[in-house]
Each structure stands twice: as structure tokens, then as C-alpha cells.
């Protein structure tokens, strides 16, 4: 096995059960107490094409990235073999579906998976079950253990699945695969496995979200799907309106009526929300937006990952108003940050962006989440003792108390410049008073952030590596794989950028790792911190950094 990890890769056509095989593999590893990272690579299509999933697990530490050097590869079709056959790690093995792959088996074995599947209805869908049986054999599971896994994970058409899996298990044994890998058990027992988007959805729900609105757009759609199918249990209302413009404006109307509202999209949909984000800035409406990045510009590459919309997120909306942007490094951090951002937008009555990437949105990880630490919104509310209500009361920190209908008081939210009561005004004194009031909130945001964890630092000594978002996980995994000592600095908040924290680290000559061809994160750091001599490491082909390759690039940069 490669180092302290075990990597299982399965590839085939869309519709052959590739992803479900990987999900079951992840559950099997987690049941052994191992930490798991699962990455699904799929194309923007329904059937055919090439899908593959990678599940990397470890017993003694938290795995933070998929490894492309696989210990066990199951290739269900020719294309999988052609693309991944060479990715077998030292001591690893490739198992081919010999009905679909015409190749010299080399250091692997062939099993007629399709021939066996044809004994049952819908043979293509069954191939993934075969992949699970091969993995079970390779890690030394017996028939009884495998049947228990199937009962838990493939309850549909169970008898046929059991029969098929038993045959494949026997064929694998005959091919000498059985017990090839002995995996160490981890401590702490089985952990939940969730995706980044599920973590964001759960974090928002736990953090008091009332209404979630979205128009489907990969890679944010699974937040919509998850909340729609768990709405009643979580006490949330989910609504999919006509387009992103409606999404953002309906959310703003709901927020102005007291509903904690959030929206989610990728950059194309986010572009359509821009005018409404500025509206939220002017009307001081709390609004949380989840922005999950994929490679652009334009339609780009829908089902792959990137960090090319950082500048777009930082500068969303026209005009001057305080903006909040934060990006989680891990699935666990995504949970807590989603709740914290909901609190932040309500505290400061301004739009906030939770910025993430396809890599975090759709990757699954084993998580330890302490739900007791979830944030809960604590906005400033108007009390009847404070007299006549003014929606835009000019206060020391710029934050005006909120009041929601029904009320005998007049509550006026206004997209035009307005006086304290919310009535439109074009008077120069009123305009500058309100511009200053809104901008004062930025100072209040920074004051609060100074008491919060706004930057993560990993490692104490060695050269400084700046990174953010899920690329942080890629960097940490690369350091573990490459045995490199370095100090990794990850700002969680990107606007306002916690300069007071970042300045504690020697930045000259620092390595900056990101997934943007234009180097947007490096530009942000050099603008805000005045860093010179940055050593950039960038990847922008839609795929996450591979730990071994990244470790090599870091060593070269040092």
C-alpha cells in the first residue's frame, strides 16, 4: 500500500453504479473506524461517458485528499482501463471486467462481470455491486460480511444482488485476490460520511435557517436536493423558483419579513443575482449566498472544480457596502461556517457569501461534528421602549435595530437612498450620512472578527504556504505524503481579509497554492499584505491537486 493509506478506485460508464460502489466502499472503510475521503469524477451527462470514483482511507489519521495512485482499481469498461490502468500503486492490483476490456491483464486479473450480470435483470446497473464484491474479497471479507453490507447498502433487489455478489466474490477468490490487503482498523468506530454540500445544508439548518431558495446549478444543486428531501425534519421551507433573479429577490423579501434566508448557486447563477446582492447591501437585508465554484468562464466545465471566482465573490454587487466572504477548508468547517455566516449576515444586516468549490461540495468525508458548537443568529432587535421605529436608525456602529411586521410602527425598506425612516431622499447630507452609516458596519464586522477564529494555521515551522478553501486539504495531504515540514496559513474569511492575523506570518517568498489560472488568491494577498516574490503553484484543469504531484511541486518551489 502507498504509505499509510489505502486507495480504491472504480471506473465505468455513467449508469453502471460507479458512484454507488464508491459510496458503499466508503461505508465499509468507515465501519472499520478508518477515515475516508471520496471523490467522484463525473461528466456533465446522464448515460455513457466516463465516471470514476476514488476512495482513499487511513487508520491513524484524517485523510484529506483522494490519491490517484490506487491500491485496487476496478475497471468496468475499456475507457477506465485505458485511463487508469497505469495508476496502480506499487503492490497494487487492477481487476478488469474481462467482458468489456480488451487488454493484456498485466499485473491484474480479469473477471467476466458482465457475463455474470446478464443472468439478472438490468445487468449494467449491477456492475457496481460486482465492484463492491471485488473490494470485499481484496480486503479479506467473507461471504457473511459481504451479505451484511449488501443488506445495509443495496436493499433494492436484494436477492439478485446477493446472488451476483456471491458469484463475483467466488471468482475473485479463484483469481487469487482474496485477502490481498490487510487493512488496519482505526480508533473511534464508524463516523458519519457526508459531502461538503450536505455539511453546508446541515450547518445552515442547525444554525436557524428558515427558507432556502435555489435554481439548479452544478455544483450547488445538491444543497437544494438535500434540503428539499429533509425539509420537514429540519423545519425548513425549500423553494425552487423560475430563475436566480427570482431566487435572490424572493429571499430578500422573506428576510425583510424575518425569515433567515439563504440561496445557493454557481457563478453563472450568481451573476444573475448580482443586482439583488447590491439591493441587500443598500436595504441592509441579511442574505446568505452559497457560491460553489466550477471552471469558468461562462458555462465552463460544469462538473469539475476551480477557484476562479474568488475576485467575483469579493466584489459582488455594485456600490459601496460592507461585504462578507468566507471559505471553508474541510467538510467539518463547512458545517460550522455555514451556521456562523448565517449569524454574521443577521448581526450585520448585509449580504454574505460562503465560497466553496465543486471539490468540497461533492466530495464525501468521514466527519466528527460537535453540533453543540453550532452558531445561532443573534440580531439587534427594536424594542418598544426605544420609541418611534426607524428602519435605518443612525447608530454608533451603523447597525439599526430590526423590526418585522405585523406592527403598528412604520417599517420601510428602501432600495433608493433614504433617510432614517426609510423614505427616499436625494439630499446631499442624508446621502453621505447613510453611506457612512453603512460603511461603519465594516468596522463593527472587523471588531467582531478579531475575537473569532478567522485564519487556520497548520504546522509551526518551515516555509509558509498560503492557500484557502478545499485546496487547504490538498496541501495538507501533500505535506503528509511528501514528509514536508511547512507552515500552512489558510484565511477562512476572505472579506474582510483578516490582515491582522495574516501579518503574523513571514510572507516574503511564500508559496501560494490555488486553483486559478489567473492567480486570484495570490493577487489578493499581494494587494492586501504587500507580499513580494510569491512562488505560485496553480492547477486549473478542473481536477483537484493530486497529493504526490503537489508534494513534488512544493519541494521544487522550496
Amino acid at each position: 500500500m502507498a504509505g499509510d493509506t489505502f486507495t480504491f478506485m472504480v471506473g465505468g460508464k455513467a449508469g453502471e453504479g460507479v458512484k454507488s460502489a464508491a459510496l458503499v466502499a466508503s461505508a465499509m472503510f468507515s465501519a472499520m473506524g478508518r477515515s475516508v475521503f471520496q471523490n467522484d469524477d463525473y461528466m456533465s451527462l446522464i448515460k455513457g461517458g466516463h465516471n470514476f470514483s476514488v476512495v482513499t482511507s487511513a487508520a491513524k489519521r484524517k485523510v484529506l485528499s483522494p490519491h490517484m495512485g490506487a491500491d485496487l482499481i476496478v475497471s468496468l469498461d475499456q475507457r477506465s482501463h485505458d485511463m487508469h490502468g497505469a495508476q496502480v500503486a506499487d503492490g497494487g492490483i487492477e481487476v478488469l471486467n474481462s467482458d468489456a476490456v480488451k487488454a493484456n491483464v498485466g499485473n491484474g486479473v480479469g473477471i467476466p462481470m458482465t457475463t455474470e450480470a446478464k443472468r439478472y435483470p438490468r445487468p449494467d446497473l449491477r456492475l457496481g455491486v460486482g465492484g463492491v464484491a471485488i473490494l470485499a474479497s481484496a480486503i479479506g471479507m467473507d461471504l457473511q460480511d459481504l451479505m451484511a453490507v449488501l443488506e445495509r447498502e443495496f436493499p433494492k433487489d436484494l436477492e439478485n444482488n446477493k446472488a451476483y455478489a456471491s458469484t463475483i466474490l467466488a471468482l475473485a477468490k479463484g483469481a487469487g485476490i482474496a485477502g490481498r490487503f490487510i487493512l488496519e482498523k482505526g480508533g473511534g468506530g464508524r463516523r458519519p460520511i457526508i459531502t461538503g454540500n450536505e455539511a453546508i445544508a446541515l450547518g445552515m439548518a442547525a444554525g436557524g435557517l428558515d427558507i432556502y431558495l435555489a435554481y439548479p446549478m452544478t455544483p450547488a444543486s445538491s444543497i437544494l436536493h438535500f434540503l428539499a428531501s429533509n425539509d420537514r425534519e429540519l423545519g425548513i421551507t425549500v423553494f425552487h423558483p423560475e430563475n436566480e433573479i427570482a431566487v435572490a429577490n424572493i429571499a430578500i423579501g422573506a428576510a425583510a419579513t424575518g425569515a433567515r434566508s439563504a440561496v445557493g448557486t454557481s457563478a453563472g447563477g450568481f451573476a444573475l443575482m448580482e443586482e439583488a446582492l447590491s439591493l441587500a447591501g443598500m436595504t441592509e437585508t441579511p442574505l446568505l449566498c452559497i457560491l460553489s465554484m466550477r471552471p469558468g468562464p461562462s458555462t465552463g466545465v460544469p462538473t469539475y472544480s476551480a477557484q476562479g471566482d474568488l475576485m467575483f465573490a469579493l466584489h459582488q454587487g455594485h456600490g459601496d457596502y460592507p461585504r462578507l466572504v468566507a471559505s471553508p477548508g474541510t467538510v467539518e468547517e463547512a458545517y460550522h461556517l455555514a451556521a456562523e455566516m448565517l449569524d454574521m449576515v443577521w448581526r450585520f444586516q448585509t449580504p454574505g457569501i460562503l465560497l466553496t468549490e465543486k471539490h468540497l461540495s461533492e466530495a464525501s468525508m468521514t466527519v466528527d461534528i460537535d453540533t453543540g458548537k453550532t452558531a445561532w443568529p443573534d440580531p439587534v432587535m427594536h424594542s418598544s421602549e426605544t420609541g418611534v421605529y426607524k428602519r435605518y436608525l443612525d447608530t454608533k456602529d451603523g447597525i439599526s435595530p430590526l423590526l418585522f411586521p405585523p406592527s403598528k410602527e412604520l417599517i420601510k425598506w428602501n432600495s433608493y437612498e433614504h433617510d432614517e425612516k426609510g423614505i427616499t431622499s436625494e439630499k446631499p447630507g442624508v446621502i453621505s450620512q447613510m453611506q457612512e452609516k453603512r460603511m461603519r458596519k465594516e468596522g463593527a464586522i472587523i471588531d467582531r472578527m478579531k475575537g473569532m477564529r478567522t485564519v487556520n494555521v497548520f504546522g509551526r515551522t518551515g516555509p509558509v504556504i498560503f492557500t484557502y478553501g478545499s485546496t487547504t486539504m490538498s496541501v495538507l495531504e501533500a505535506l503528509a505524503v511528501g514528509g514536508i515540514e511547512a507552515k500552512v496559513v489558510q484565511p477562512i474569511y476572505l472579506r474582510p481579509l483578516p490582515v491582522w492575523e495574516l501579518q503574523k506570518h513571514e510572507a516574503r517568498g511564500a508559496i501560494v497554492v490555488e486553483q486559478s489560472a489567473g492567480g486570484q488568491f495570490a493577487t489578493l494577498l499581494s494587494d492586501k499584505l504587500g507580499i513580494k516574490d510569491i512562488k505560485p503553484i496553480r492547477r486549473y484543469d478542473g481536477r483537484p491537486f493530486e497529493p504526490t504531484e503537489l508534494a513534488k511541486a512544493i519541494k521544487e518551489a522550496l
Binding site: A246, A255, T257
Partner: protein, 283 residues
């Protein structure tokens, strides 16, 4: 402008003779009538788009949200969803409702969102000093069509009938009592209400003479879908009053929420954490 309990301190800047004054008076009359029927002003919430009509927001002494051009119908639906006990009145211009934000009004009708959309239909962009709108007649000479519009106008009421609108009416700013009664019925209706108000623009599209000649007050009474559709399509006369009204369709908020009120009946922190822990446990 006379001062009263429904008028704010904002300076009124509509042109003298503007049709908006008639609509403003009809709206105030409707609010008083709704109060007599037990719906106090505190249960009303208004939204407005951008244009001369939008100044209603500043002048009318009820709570609300001054939204973006074309988006007041979306804002209104969010308000209704958050607090289903509010009666939401959405003011728009014909550029707002039938141009910039046409998708929102179509979908509001489709889903039977319980909002009342009042369109100040003057057939011209007034605040931007006179361009043709989606409902301007072919040949209309505006500042963007100096040789006359080469497009035929939309028929929004017929379109909204087809989209599933459950309350369809037309008003005229010159017939204040008729408009007031129509507005009261529209707000009381549980479901999507559209009141298209014919309104002359004295500066850029003075239609007083035309409307005074062609407007015809409808006799009360139920009409079938086909009869109402025919009425929406009439070209010789302009019928004003309630054209179509059905109560069979469930309003959107009730279909989505049942009796639940998302804000007032919010699930507490402990219950949410228990649900989240339960979901995590099963993953």
C-alpha cells in the same frame, strides 16, 4: 396633497394631473375599507418597483419594501412566504410587470401566489422621459422609437388568464370608486390577483380623452373562463372592474406550508440540533 393618516411627510413630485393621484386615492380608500372589514393597515405590506408608480412607497403610510425595477413581484412573494398572515400589495409599472420582470408575474400567476399586483399601466416609461413599453401600441412614437414602435403590444391580462391567474381585473385611474372596490376585492381574494390600471401620463402619453371614451364599467357577476378571456381581448371597448374571479385553486403558500408560518413557528435550536444529529447518525 392633503395630509391624512395614510400619507407620509414625503414631498409629492408627480406631475399635476398625473393618473397616479387617482390610483393613490383609490388605494387609500381601499385600505380604509379593508380596515372596516377587519384587515388593519398593520397587516398590509407593500412592495414597489422603479418608475413613477414607485413613489407610492414614499407617499403611502404603510410598511413595505421599495424593490428593484421588475422585481417587486418577486420580493412580494418572499414576504408572503415568510409571513402568510400578511396581505401583500405589489405596485408595478407596465415596464416593471410586463417587461423587466415579466417572468415573475407569469410564475406568480402559475403558482397562484397570494399577492395583489397593481400595475400602473400608462403605456410609456415616464420616469426615464418617454420610451415605448411592452403594451404601447404599434406606431407609438417614443424617445427610443422616434419613427414609431414597430412591435405589436402584449395583452397581459389574456396571458395571465392563460397562466392561471385566479383574480383578473382592470381599473381606470379616472374612475376612483370603481377602482377602490376592485382593489378591495383583489386584496381579499386568496390567490394571485392582477389589477391592470389604465393610467394617462400627462407628460408623455396623455390618454384621458381616449379612456374616457372607451372605458366601460362592468356589471358585477361571475364569468366563465372563455367569457373572461373574450373580455380581456376586446378592442372596441375597455371594460373596467373584476373580469374573472375563481376560488377553487389553492394558493401557493398553503400548498407549500399548510398552516405553518416559517418565522412565527420556527423550530427551536434544540430541536434542530436533535434532527441534525439524527441525520448524521444514519450516515
Amino acid at each position: 396633497m392633503p395630509s391624512d393618516e395614510l400619507t407620509t411627510y414625503a414631498e409629492n413630485t408627480w406631475c399635476p394631473g398625473c393618473g397616479n393621484f387617482g390610483i393613490f386615492n383609490a388605494v387609500k380608500g381601499a385600505i380604509r375599507e379593508l380596515g372596516r372589514k377587519g384587515i388593519g393597515a398593520d397587516r398590509l405590506f407593500m412592495t414597489a418597483g422603479i418608475g413613477c408608480h414607485g413613489k407610492m412607497f414614499d407617499y403611502l403610510n404603510i410598511s413595505g419594501f421599495y424593490s428593484l425595477h421588475g422585481r417587486s413581484m418577486a420580493t412580494a412573494q418572499g414576504i408572503k412566504l415568510a409571513d402568510p398572515e400578511l396581505k401583500v400589495i405589489c405596485f408595478c409599472g407596465d415596464g416593471d410587470a410586463y417587461g423587466e420582470g415579466f417572468e415573475h408575474i407569469i410564475f406568480a400567476a402559475k403558482r397562484n401566489a397570494d399577492i395583489t399586483v397593481i400595475v400602473h399601466n400608462n403605456g410609456v416609461y415616464g420616469l426615464t422621459t418617454g420610451q415605448f413599453t411592452p403594451v404601447s401600441n404599434k406606431g407609438f412614437k417614443g424617445r427610443s422609437t422616434p419613427r414609431g414602435s414597430i412591435e405589436d403590444p402584449l395583452n397581459p391580462l389574456a396571458i395571465l388568464m392563460e397562466c392561471g391567474a385566479t383574480f383578473v381585473a382592470r381599473g381606470f385611474s379616472g374612475k376612483i370608486e370603481n377602482l377602490r372596490d376592485t382593489l378591495v376585492a383583489a386584496v381579499l381574494h386568496e390567490g394571485f390577483s392582477i389589477v391592470d390600471v389604465l393610467q394617462p401620463c400627462v407628460s408623455f402619453n396623455d390618454t384621458y380623452k381616449l379612456y374616457n371614451a372607451e372605458v366601460e364599467v362592468l356589471a358585477p357577476g361571475d364569468r366563465s373562463y372563455d367569457e373572461a378571456m373574450a373580455m380581456c381581448k376586446r378592442k372596441d371597448r375597455l371594460p373596467v372592474g373584476t373580469i374573472y374571479h375563481i376560488t377553487e385553486r389553492e394558493p401557493f403558500h398553503r400548498a407549500l406550508l399548510g398552516d405553518r408560518r416559517p418565522v412565527k413557528d420556527r423550530l427551536g435550536r434544540d430541536e434542530r440540533l436533535a434532527s441534525v444529529s439524527n441525520i448524521l447518525k444514519n450516515r
